[in-house]
């Protein structure tokens, strides 16, 4: 039982939890304690040293008469943001109560009519913005995968297809999101002119998602092509002898065999996508973390820098979590990892 849990933790990349778990269960306590100190203690020491240096140096630097925010100021800014969030939650509760009251007072009006008359106008909270960013990056990532995986399979199966697609990969892959954005914005702006700004498929949202797609699909494409091209020749011979056909060979032999590589590409893609997203949101004004950073940059309050630093940390932590999720998914589809857990 314990071994199975440990195996799962390892597969999911949650190795940090293995030593404490084993220590709690009384297994190899001395050894695991040592491992725990190495795994958690050393990074912790580094973080403490970093925070200390940051605090000391920040206190010395003056910008436009203000000190550079140190860890204390940033923590305070995060606390303020959390209180703002609570306040806006309270606001929303009041609004809902008001709305319910209005519904009883004017029973002849439908809910949609009433919502139009008294809309909820408060600015999105920080959590709303994080959620918007995640939705946008996910949309772009899904579109990228839907394009890149079939194309990658084609490139991996046929050298001719790869020769034809390769120039596009080489030329478009290094293009910065900032160069794509105006093109995408103009095209989307023209084709989606009639879409209202508050719908789910708002223009800014589509622009940011498409830019994420354009920048992130290459990693998945290249890795899928590689994975498919590297499928063991013996497996392909098996498929031939069994007369699996084109379709059967792809779905029963090629795809399962290339899955770890495909997921590796998707992991790189989502990393690139998350990085690109912030820039795309700044320029397209999609109400996510990128827009938050941009708005803070434009406003000049005392805690601008501290708030942006909170955003930077948030972006980093979310990127880290996304990466961890992709690693876990990749391990789950790799033969030998998840199979061993069964």
């Amino acid at each position: 039982m314990l071994n199975k849990i440990i195996l799962y933790l390892n597969v999911l990349g949650l190795t940090w939890f293995v030593p404490p778990l084993k220590m709690v269960c009384g297994q190899d306590v001395a050894y695991e304690a040592k491992r725990f100190v190495r795994m958690i203690g050393l990074p912790l020491i580094a973080v403490v040293i970093f925070l200390f240096l940051w605090h000391v140096i920040a206190g010395q630097v003056k910008i436009k008469g203000q000190i550079l925010p140190g860890p204390v100021e940033v923590t305070a800014a995060a606390g303020k943001m959390y209180r703002d969030y609570q306040a806006s939650q309270a606001n929303y509760v009041t609004y809902q109560a008001d709305f319910a009251k209005a519904q009883t007072e004017y029973p002849q009006m439908s809910e949609t009519e009433l919502r139009e008359l008294m809309p909820y106008t408060a600015a999105p909270t920080y959590l709303d913005q994080i959620w918007t960013s995640l939705k946008t990056v996910f949309t772009g990532f899904v579109i990228a995968s839907l394009i890149a995986i079939p194309l990658g399979i084609l490139c991996g199966m046929s050298a001719a297809a790869f020769e034809m697609i390769n120039p596009f990969i080489q030329v478009f892959r290094p293009v910065s999101p900032l160069a794509w954005l105006p093109i995408v914005a103009i095209i989307v702006g023209a084709t989606m002119a009639d879409v209202p700004a508050n719908s789910f498929w708002a223009k800014s949202y589509v622009v940011a998602a498409v830019v994420v797609t354009l920048c992130s699909l290459w990693a998945t494409l290249i890795n899928t092509a590689n994975g498919v091209a590297q499928v063991d020749k013996d497996y392909l011979n098996v498929a031939k002898v069994l007369n699996l056909g084109w379709f059967g060979t792809i779905f029963k032999v090629v795809l399962p065999s290339a899955l770890p590589q495909i997921f590796n590409g998707m992991r790189l893609s989502i990393g690139v996508g998350w990085m690109v997203l912030i820039a795309a949101e700044m320029l397209s004004q999609n109400p996510g973390l990128g827009k938050f950073v941009w708005d803070m940059y434009q406003s000049s309050s005392d805690d601008t820098l501290a708030l942006i630093m909170v955003a930077v940390l948030t972006i980093g932590v979310i990127g880290f979590i996304l990466d961890r999720i992709m690693i876990a998914l990749q391990r789950m589809v790799s033969p030998g990892a998840m199979l061993a857990v069964r």
Partner: protein
């Protein structure tokens, strides 16, 4: 009806820097239904290429391979291959691997019948208790048995063995050889095998086809093996006739390897792989 005929087969590959490389040329022999034929030769002489051409995985550059009087153009399940390194799909269980073959060949049968077929052949090769394990959870011998069951479950006319026992330890190898012989006898199989083990070739086959060294390898000699079936390992390995066959093979393979004419024969050399079973019993 003629079963398998290999007529004037030649094969060359185009190497990017060395140009055209002749691998095989002028290969001629035939095989009757129910026979067990082994092709033996030094590594790199093109035996596996020959097997691939019989399977249809590769096409000859000249001449033709005819199976049941039709030219072989592509692989079909009637000529099932047992691969050198088992080639089981690691993400499928033992029975999953066999089912992949059964599902593909017997599309018109019901799910139940197909499952029964897969289970039957796994039982025959002795994997009844390991059907739901993954390839990495079973031993090398069991993996090779799974490969055998996968090929048998396709109901083939001809079984192609591409050095299937080469990677196994001595004891497991003997065991699998005996079981393959039993299957050949009981199920009336026709087997075309490629190997580099002299003992294995003599013990198992009706005919040993000896290839000389590449490039441009061809058949040097065909040795008819006249042991009754079913074969008994100890009796055969201890017989004077076995030593005789063995010396014939070794003389051929060694003289060709060193570019000699085949005469005079070097004394049989005991190696770790092919120990001399009956010293002094060689009449050669």
């Amino acid at each position: 009806m003629k079963f398998l005929e290999i007529i004037n087969v030649a094969k060359h590959f185009n190497h990017p820097t060395k140009g055209k490389i002749e691998v095989l040329s002028n290969i001629n022999f035939s095989m009757k239904k129910g026979e067990f034929i082994t092709v033996i030769g030094h590594s790199g002489c093109g035996k596996s290429t020959l097997l691939n051409m019989v399977a249809g995985l590769d096409l000859p550059s000249g001449g033709s391979v005819c199976f049941e009087e039709k030219e072989v153009m592509r692989p079909v399940p009637e000529r099932a291959v047992v691969f050198q390194n088992h080639s089981l799909l690691p993400w499928r269980t033992v029975i999953g691997n066999v089912m992949l073959a059964v599902n593909s060949v017997f599309k018109d049968k019901s799910k139940k019948e197909r499952l029964e077929r897969a289970e039957h052949w796994l039982k025959v090769v002795g994997l009844k208790d390991h059907m739901h394990k993954y390839p990495h959870e079973i031993s090398g011998g069991q993996r090779q048995r799974t490969g055998l069951a996968r090929a048998l479950a396709m109901g083939p006319e001809l079984m192609l063995f591409d050095e299937p026992f080469g990677a196994l330890d001595e004891l497991t190898r003997s065991q699998l050889q005996d079981e393959s012989l039993r299957l050949h006898f009981e199920e009336n199989l026709s087997v075309f095998m490629v190997t580099h083990s002299v003992d294995e070739a003599i013990y198992m086959s009706d005919k040993v086809v000896m290839m000389n060294n590449g490039p441009n390898a061809t058949i040097g000699k065909i040795l008819e093996i006249d042991f009754p079936r079913p074969r008994e390992r100890l009796k055969i390995f201890e017989s004077a006739q076995f030593a005789h066959y063995r010396n014939e093979c070794i003389r051929f393979l060694f003289s060709r390897a060193t570019g000699g004419t085949g005469e005079p024969a070097p004394a049989p050399v005991a190696t770790a792989e092919t120990p001399i079973v009956v010293p002094g019993a060689a009449p050669a």
